[in-house]
């Protein structure tokens, strides 16, 4: 389990990085950020890039600030930086609640938020967060910058809308209003494992009725996404068991669960209903 040979590049500026990417991407050149997903696949030789462009030494990619109503997360921001709230308000707490579910402590010291999003494992917590909260992905190439909404970004298993010469320079997550409530649920066999299914829900109350519900599901389908049917079932309802179960059932009915050797579609569907219901209960409590 030794990786195949590659040429190593260590740019120090974004311009240099995207220029290298433009040059080498056609010859399977890739970005190396935290490496916590890429390096294992290289160890199995499932990935065998000819060039790795290591962005860990690039200045200006460590940005973690609130700008224009969004938390901006630069390409080298590590998971561990969310162990304490990265911003004020509900969003900071939400991300801190989620991050403890990402793999394990040493992995979180090295893995990056943007790397997870770009890698786009269906069971990635950050991908689901980005999808649920309508994040915007900032793709940078030698020819300029492109903004990609989350709904268009995740295409299928480990496949995104990013072009091969684009670096995911930043992810912007809209701040949440102070009256937003949220719930997160994930189920896996062991601590730190990839989720078999997971969900993030947020909503606000106006006059006691649920408004602006977001229900995102990850791990169950080939990509994370908001489940419109479940959100519709929830919108305008009074929080409570009946509404939550209706939304949960709608989510379970709407998804097209993946199957693998360990988990069948029926189990993932049932599990998703349970998790959505519990997440909504968490949000309400």
């Amino acid at each position: 389990m030794k990786p195949a040979a590659f040429e190593y590049h260590a740019p120090t500026t974004v311009d240099e990085a995207v220029a290298l990417l433009a040059e080498h991407a056609p010859n399977d050149g890739r970005i190396l950020a935290g490496g916590q997903s890429l390096v294992p696949t290289m160890a199995f030789r499932l990935a065998r890039p000819n060039h790795l462009i290591d962005i860990n030494n690039v200045a200006d990619l460590g940005k973690l600030t609130v700008e224009d109503g969004a938390l901006c997360i630069g390409a080298t921001v590590r998971h561990a930086q969310f162990h304490t709230p990265a911003c004020n308000g509900v969003l900071g707490h939400l991300l801190t609640d989620v991050v403890g579910n990402i793999a394990h402590y040493p992995i979180r010291q090295r893995g990056t938020f943007c790397g997870s999003v770009a890698h786009s494992d269906p069971a990635s917590e950050w991908c689901m967060v980005a999808a649920t909260l309508d994040a915007t992905m900032v793709a940078q190439s030698a020819s300029g910058e492109r903004l990609i909404p989350a709904a268009e970004f995740f295409e299928t298993v480990m496949t995104t809308n990013l072009n091969e010469d684009e670096l995911l320079r930043e992810v912007r997550i809209p701040m949440l209003s102070d009256d937003t409530v949220y719930g997160f649920q994930e189920f896996n066999r062991r601590a730190g494992d990839f989720a078999i299914s997971m969900t993030l829900v947020t909503y606000r109350l106006e006059s006691g009725k649920i408004t602006d519900p977001h229900i995102g599901v990850g791990g169950a389908e080939d990509r994370p996404r908001r489940i419109a049917e479940a959100e519709a079932a929830l919108a305008g309802q009074t929080p409570g068991d009946e509404a939550f179960r209706a939304a949960a059932d709608a989510a379970a009915a709407a998804i097209d669960p993946m199957e693998d050797h360990a988990t069948n579609a029926q189990y993932r569907r049932d599990l998703t209903a349970t998790l959505v219901r519990r997440a909504l209960e968490n949000a309400a409590s």
Partner: protein
Amino acid sequence: MSDKKDITLTVNGRDHNVAVDPRWTLADVIRDHCGQTGTHLGCEHGICGACTVLVDDTPVRSCLMFGVQADGKKIRTVEGLANGDEYHPLQKAFMENHALQCGYCTPGFLMLATGILEAQPDISDDDLNEVLSSNLCRCTGYANIIKAVRAARDEMKAAS
């Protein structure tokens, strides 16, 4: 084949100048080119944690970093834990609490625990369990590892 790169790794305070193939993992460089074989490989895909070392005082899986990426960084491995003949409190606690059997996962647990106890000397039992669930042990059933790390935490706190 890719060209070798000259790097300097500071392992337990000693500089090692190594010409590395970029694909060599940090673990392999530490073991095969710095002569420090206390860092063990258990899976080479980032799950078991046997290869955990401290890079700039932060616990990371050395199988998931390339050696070339650690150029100029401060690496600490199990060989650097003791102070001469004086055991680190964690080493002492592992022996006193029978927290090892075959000893293969032990360096990874020791470095993980060192990293977390240095970063969070007051860490709670529950949070400690979270962190220690990062690594796999196949012999002990973990109970004594938990006891040992808690004992070392308490001792290190009392001593500080």
